[in-house]
Symmetry: C2
Subunit: 382 residues, 2 copies
């Protein structure tokens, strides 16, 4: 344990490569350390041996404690309508996304159903949709360009990964089915303006609380048959979902809900404060160096905080303000900053995505290097 | 906690439907209860936030503690050669089976590769292979009947599920790739005669220790590129494997290894004793009622126990000795015993599989009902 704590606090060498390619949510570690034993999960050797959690539930591998805490948190935050929805638990929302594709496609169809999302779209959607060359579904790219009159599945990520904007479906066709990926629709990232009430919504513990290593996500699903088919997918794919992680997730979500009812240590307040500070510092550095621009987000009334707030997304979506053809990812890699190029999100290499969720010292190094780029640029007369 | 313990010990009503369709391994609960705190896992709120476990490992989401305990247990039991193999962790061996299909198939091939297994084969293989209608692989049924000269993947399950026999590959073709599913190759189920040393071997905590709810399996893989592709599959499918369950599995496997080094409470000794007793009682009841027959297993020298032992498989594979066309599954269902018909294993309905791994009182009810069938049979003059 001590060793683990040490590895968390040991200083990064100042010339380290910093990896901000993934959205690895380590920034919440100090909060969870402060919470101490309240969030410690203890599992005895004889617990949770069975494959089954609750055979009376449509999703038979879903732990009742987790159901309760998911319901409670959505009620408190009011970011999603939970009544009238079935809950399906998954090994992260990535598995649930595949379960949804399986559930919304038809085994009798001659052609795979087209899966689309508006650019810039989450970089993993294409690979995850196509890697098994399924005869049920296939990636069909940018939703704005979708012209077919065939049935389709549109992915709506809101707030969007990579750019942080609130989104709605862009295709107005019949025969369309929607998957709403709401991984970032939490008050530390964005104003909560209304409880989302879509047919199929995906959430994940990873981005809500930072516990990515637990691999727990959940879907809220209106249609019973779709929820059943998603459950079937997870049965065939992994025979259920880790009970240990479900029990831990229940404990962590409980701590978040409990924190929302007190004036100090409110998790979302803490998270919003941290994100706001980071965004402020990033905007200041980016503003000074003139190499990049950042999106601007509108102020909106957040029902959770009861005040006007601004989005502080989990990723910074940078656009190069220099020559148009510039490969910004390579440019930053030369400065030992690993990021993800716009080309993975269906746009060009002048864009790039940087994780805002790493540890504080990593973020500090990022800002330091971005600042140096600017001053070097000036010295060279650029 | 008390509530959970109560639910484990509360008596089944004597007219309950008993579900022995799945191999839900609840029989080891009393052992783990006896072990007490030694096997309790404690995970703090701030631990394991990251997606990553060890970025220097090919399988970057594999926890170092689990690696150590997998190595130690295989060394102690000598059921598999671990040197010269990469370890890939999965969300149960079901996910690893799919990862193996992905890794052993070719994305450039015009036709999906054929996946075969000798009858009777594990009932899930077909559904798991075909449910996404992959263009990479497809189920092609009984390996004994496989005649193609195309590349193929042969699944070798040893000891076999459902019938408990030790197996080798049955096709002697070129271009064949093998997956060895060794979930039951542990000393409580079968004599350990040699350390298995195949290209790709699958194991699971579920059947080894009974912790099915944790969904942890591992693959031992000789070829580096295959191990990399399997890791890629798991990255795309679930972005890694629950760290909480990996840490718990490490603790449980450690307890098993520790128990092997002492004279009392040896886990495999306990497990073998329990299984041997159940098989003896089942054979006695089956022998008396005359409705079914059971496979006979040879005595072999088990290197682990250092003596001649017999297999005591996790499933009983019953064959009806009555009319040939009898649907034994329906017959037992009428007696409130849920089992799995031979038709799911590629053979006919005169066969059926019964789990031997449920709680003691469920097993008692099974024997009681099988005994009553026999006496009722006799009363009716059958």
């Amino acid at each position: 344990l001590q060793e683990k704590q040490n590895s968390m606090t040991k200083k990064l060498p100042s010339d380290s490569v910093i990896n901000l390619d993934h959205g690895d949510p380590k920034m919440f570690e100090p909060y969870w350390q402060k919470m101490g034993d309240k969030c410690t999960v203890v599992i005895s050797g004889w617990q949770s041996l069975s494959y089954f959690s609750d055979i009376t539930n449509l999703c038979w591998f879903l732990e009742p404690e987790l159901v309760e805490e998911i319901r409670r948190l959505h009620h408190l935050v009011a970011n999603a309508e939970i009544e009238g929805h079935y809950i399906v638990v998954g090994t992260g929302s990535t598995q649930l996304f595949q379960a949804a594709l399986y559930a919304l496609s038809s085994p009798d169809s001659a052609e795979p159903i087209n899966v689309v999302s508006a650019v810039p779209y989450y970089s993993s959607y294409q690979a995850v949709t196509d890697f098994l060359r399924s005869g049920l579904y296939r990636w069909a790219g940018d939703a704005y360009k979708y012209k077919g009159d065939q049935p389709y599945i549109e992915l709506v990520t809101s707030p969007n990964n990579p750019d942080g904007f609130i989104r709605e479906a862009v295709i107005n066709g019949s025969g369309g089915k929607l998957i709403h990926d709401l991984a970032y629709y939490w008050p530390h990232y964005t104003p909560i303006t209304t409880p989302a009430d879509h047919d199929l919504m995906l959430f994940t513990v990873s981005k809500c609380t930072g516990h990515a290593g637990s691999r727990i996500g959940w879907a809220l699903v209106k249609d019973k048959e779709v929820a059943k088919k998603m459950t079937k997918f997870i049965e065939l794919n992994t025979i259920g979902v880790s009970k240990d992680s479900q029990l831990r997730a229940a404990k962590i979500l409980k701590a978040v809900s409990d924190s929302c009812r007190q004036d100090y240590d409110n998790f979302f307040d803490y998270g919003r404060g941290l994100m706001a500070k980071r965004w402020e510092r990033l905007r200041s550095v980016i503003g000074r160096n003139g190499l990049f621009s950042l999106p601007e987000y509108p102020m909106e009334f957040c029902n959770f905080f009861g005040e006007l707030t601004e989005a502080h997304p989990a990723f910074a979506w940078l656009k190069s303000e220099e020559e148009e053809s510039k490969d910004t990812e390579s440019f930053l890699r030369a400065h030992k900053i690993l990021t993800r190029s716009g080309k993975h999100f269906g746009v060009d290499t002048t864009y790039l995505r940087i994780s805002m969720l790493d540890r504080e010292e990593t973020f500090d190094l990022l800002l330091q290097r971005l600042s140096n780029m600017s001053s070097k640029g000036r010295e060279n007369g650029a």
